[in-house]
């Protein structure tokens, strides 16, 4: 990996092409985008516009086909698996549309889970998890399993889990996609509050314009290219 500048996210002519049989799908076609440290950016666009693909590249879940991608000063495009694992541990936290909590763990254990993989002691990781659950308003639900929580509560647990590793960037892929409108607004308000209080950079992918309205800046994608807001 190599280091460059102070932008939280910097994409230079970023492309991602998928091959399905004999067909090539150009999910991203030369994206140029910068996201400043502490900025709250919403990526909007129709299905297939490439917004989730961009998020996955920033999160180290995928590798670009070409171009440069700098996240928190580290270039990811040529990184090996070990480096991407470190990237996911240290720099980014994920919030998924379907929450992706482990059903057999309690809320507290779900939030503490990422810290187990970096060797944090059980006592410390549970203490940090408990503190974060308090911040997201779930202090009285720590011992509940995901099946015992509402959609909004599960997403709050997921947000707490994303924050537990103290990442510099939070990546949220359709965080309001599986919950009702009112709850969705609460979630977006929570994300904005955390962005403002903790100065964590926030990149949210959404097709919901009302949710996008919580962001500082809205970037519109279409057919793998930026239409507006770059």
């Amino acid at each position: 990996m190599t280091t460059h500048g102070r932008a939280a996210i910097r994409a230079v002519q970023l492309t991602r092409t998928f091959t399905l049989g004999e067909t090539e799908i150009h999910a991203l076609r030369g994206i140029d985008l910068q996201v400043a440290v502490g900025e709250f950016v919403a990526l909007v666009g129709p299905s297939g516009s490439g917004k989730s693909t961009f998020l996955n590249l920033v999160g180290g879940l995928d590798r670009p086909t070409s171009g440069e991608l700098w996240v928190d000063g580290v270039e990811l495009s040529a990184s090996k698996e070990r480096a991407l694992t470190e990237h996911r541990r240290q720099r980014v936290g994920f919030v998924f549309q379907s929450f992706n909590l482990l059903p057999l763990l309690t809320a507290l254990e779900n939030v503490a889970l990422p810290l187990m993989f970096v060797g944090v002691s059980e006592r410390e990781r549970l203490a940090r998890a408990r503190s974060l659950l308090e911040q997201v308003g779930l202090a009285d639900r720590v011992a509940h399993r995901p099946t015992q929580l509402s959609g909004g509560e599960q997403q709050r647990v997921a947000i707490a889990r994303a924050l537990v590793g103290r990442p510099s960037i939070i990546l949220a892929d359709e965080p309001t996609g599986n919950i009702d409108t009112a709850t969705g607004s609460e979630i977006m308000a929570l994300l904005r509050r955390l962005n403002q209080e903790q100065r964590v950079t926030l990149l949210v992918v959404t097709h919901d314009l009302e949710a996008a309205g919580f962001a500082n800046r809205v970037v519109r994608l279409r057919d793998g290219q930026i239409e507006a807001g770059a």
Binding site: N56, G59, L61, D62, E81, R82, T85, R88, R89, F94, F96, N100, L101, L102, L104, L113, P114, M116, F117, V118, G119, S121, E122, R161, G165
Partner: protein
Amino acid sequence: MKFRDLVRTAVSNLFRHKARTALTTVGVVVGILTIVTMVSLGIGVQHEMRAAFDTVGLESLRIYPVAEDTSAFDLFGQRQRTKLLTPELAQQLQAREGVLTVVPYLNLPTSMRVILHLDGHETAVTTRSSRPSSPGEPFDVPPRAVAGVEEPPPGGGGIVLSLDLLASLGYAREEVGDLIGREVELVLHAPRGDSQAFDFTIAGIVDQMWGSLTLSVPDRLRLLEWWYNDPDYLARRGYDELFVRTRSLNDATQMLDWLSAEGYEVESLKMMLDLASRGWIIVETMLGSVGGLALLVASIGIANTMIMAVYERTREIGILKAVGAAPGQIRSLFVLEAAFIGLLGGIAGTILGWLLGKGLNWLILEIFRWQEVPMQGTFFVVSWWLVAGALVFAALVGLLAGLYPAARAARLVPLDALRYE
């Protein structure tokens, strides 16, 4: 990731599907149970053999006369002997450095028909060998005196009877003490038509023995001289065996070399023990292989269970990778789960193997008792190293079976795994 967290996570994952985990361990249980039972049998039997031989004395030798080839028989239908065990040889051996005792032994032919007469009762009897310095064969239970002595006086004239024989004549156990010193008559009936009575005094009564009564070597000689109508029986045939006890194993080895060089047939108890042990190891290995085969099949079962687990937990693996789990940590988790399946099976198999050994031991002794075989012993011994070895081996089988599924889990692409339904 701390090892404690790894272990706890692996154990908790196993207990998610208790029934499946239990069924998967069955193969390991069967394999370890078989191995533990077979190896414990080997340990027990070898331990008993060594103890029995130790009682006799590993520094002992058995010397036999050398007979010509099977076609040469004498007037009495016996094989000609070219090397005799004479009283002079016995004295010569006794005088040698390192020799403690030399005890002769004479067989009575199985065709010899002997009738015992006591207080107006009579019955056919069989005679037991008399080896004053030896309890007899390994696993044999030495006779215990109920009254009088256990072995007839070496000078002759005394006879030792079994309790069973007296019970068949109608004597109760409480009455037999009064028989010591009583006169008894043994009448031999030869095929040639005549018979001869020999008088003895009852010197002892024992609780159990092979055969009904025991005679000293001089008395056996008297019977043989009459039976074969040969007053020079000993000079012509010599003894049937000389049992030599030496001071040490070294002395026994030297004696063995000398006697073999002189052309005698010699058995060293150490040789017998080594031979028997080697034989047992072969048998043990063959039987243990059955358990090994079961474990091989069990390992396939474990691998199958773990592959299924990887499929079922694909999405979960994706989540773990997304929140920071390294491929190596995923691999370790699955390998450890497989090793634990093996270990659980090993624990259960070892316990069941121990119990089975206990049960079989009891059954064997019951059969001995029912068949009136005077043998005792613990034939199944589970040692601590057998337990440790079984558990380690079982865990290793599980671990090896889990390597491939664990590698598959580690190689999963996070994005694809997260999308898996």
